[in-house]
Subunit: 382 residues, 2 copies
Amino acid sequence: MAVVGAGMTAFGEHFALGLKDLLPMAFSECAASVDKGLDKSDLQGAWFGAMGTADGFPAGILADSLGLPDLPVTRVENSCATGNDAIRNALFGVASGAFDVALVMGADKLRDTTSRDMLWEWEAMARDYPLGVVSPAGFALHVRRYLHESPATREHLAMIAVKNHRHGVQNTKARLRFEITVEQALAAPIVVTPFGLYDCAPQSDGAAALVLAAEEVVDRFTDRPVWIRGVGLGLDSVMHQHKSDMTTMPATVRAAKQAFSMAGLTPSDVDVAEVHDFFTGIELISYEDLGFAERFGGHKLVEAEVTTIGGGLPVNPSGGLKAKGHPPGATGVAQCVELFAQLRGEAVNQVDGARIGLAHNIGGPTAVAAVTILEGVGNGAS
Amino acid sequence: MAVVGAGMTAFGEHFALGLKDLLPMAFSECAASVDKGLDKSDLQGAWFGAMGTADGFPAGILADSLGLPDLPVTRVENSCATGNDAIRNALFGVASGAFDVALVMGADKLRDTTSRDMLWEWEAMARDYPLGVVSPAGFALHVRRYLHESPATREHLAMIAVKNHRHGVQNTKARLRFEITVEQALAAPIVVTPFGLYDCAPQSDGAAALVLAAEEVVDRFTDRPVWIRGVGLGLDSVMHQHKSDMTTMPATVRAAKQAFSMAGLTPSDVDVAEVHDFFTGIELISYEDLGFAERFGGHKLVEAEVTTIGGGLPVNPSGGLKAKGHPPGATGVAQCVELFAQLRGEAVNQVDGARIGLAHNIGGPTAVAAVTILEGVGNGAS
């Protein structure tokens, strides 16, 4: 199965727009990217990743706003892993033989006082699982312990922020398009130790779209498909007191293992990755959980600029959640929009010769992860 | 693919219980129903239908509360069609070849002031789609017009209430286990014209579970499987002003068409059905949309007692949403729990010789429907 089209809105504070506006914007760009054209009637089924929106019935808004009342739409929600899990479910739909062509969309509308408050309250105060901490604090517990046990320091977190901000400058879809220095990152106000302001990604509004096609019909749409080689979804205990080791996230390890196994690939095959940098320290820990670095060795990749554009394994060439922004339902789908461009040699921050790309989400706060592995035809250089 | 196990909690006001309690209760009954036994490690993937719960991160609660952190769980939400759409997505997962054995669960926890208020507010006040009416009022607009255009009357609605209450008396899982008379139904306080109190189903708490197995592994679990023959999901415009005809629900027509087409069956093949009687008039209209009755002829089935136990096509032998209660995420899955029993000849209100069963949900309020068609080996009689 392949991705034959991809598009997204800019991420940002779209105060005047709702899901009903953002979805058609992302879909239009996606449809226009299909080399041989896409007719709406080609779409047979849809999966819609939406997490915290308060705009109304999500599946219905998608069908309505695209003018496709005949389209069966399933909403998938899996915390911050929603986007890549929507892709995974669409893949199952097509692989089952029920559909040849499926639409995957992800969107969220959080920059609105009411819904933002609801999202935080939901996480901190949920009836059965009262974490008692909002999202940054939940992730900070992991990273604080990680900095204690590993040689990594707050400087390494700052270097990741600097890298992703630099990558984001050229991305017209990114929300924070400015460079920062390590000094600025370290001097920024503390949100929750060890995260300063620049260690955190901005919750945002936005939408993203992909069109998936079964192998038999790919040529109807493009001669330059990007193949989906592997998908994985991993869970872990929700509550922090049930986690035996705060310095690794089993959800990511499980999701990556499934995706690499399905793809028949290993972490060393990956040429470019979009990793869930909701907080800088999560990108760092994820290097290890995804198999890109040895245990407690993630900081070495940062120091050697391996994960910077020009390095051996660029991570978050789009700017990541850090610079691009984070509408949870859209984020995973948007990661694959970036990889679609990368693996066709059309990205703004193009990774030369990129053939294998990996997208990764983690959320809930660290109770679920999803991984998607894509393969393009390569783009010369290398 | 087949259902090899099924179980559910009683539906009701479980004030002292949360999803973390209800899910293991339903799962235990489901696991115990697997003839040759089920080991938790047999489960490779899970789909969880949850709509309006405020208990916390749904997928994580399921994995946590069953003690299965390795299980990849996707939460599906599709308004009141959530349950049957969760089954549909699990079917795609197994049919894709990614899994041999999958768990489907549905649950909701609504009888709690905070979350109940949130659910109603969400529907009436959603940002993009401000219906401005709560759920009973939205459905009433359809039924009022239907009673105006068809020969059906409020007496027919009352007869459906009487039938489903009668069916529910024997069902130990039902919330309202008492009979009523047509006179009582007609004299009850009006909730919203034309619905009196007994035309409405009670929002409730509860959970339900199914285990699905690929054909190749079915005999590891049972010699009496119930096969899934068809699934369908249909959408329609969300807002009432965009509906061209209030007396039929295109979402149901679309879902049924897909499911019957996949099954290679027609409505006349169905022996027993669980139909979404959130309101009595919706069961009536759905007879027509599902193809059980001709246009504006639904009331004839009621008058002739065709849809009562003992009739030609018993509908809602479980008592339906009307008597059983309606935890939206659980409802569709629980319908298939009832059909699993019916198609194995083990139901409390057994339909003699039942071989083909159909489950139907509609919601959003009438913007989405899901249909599942099951086939058993028959059970002698008829």
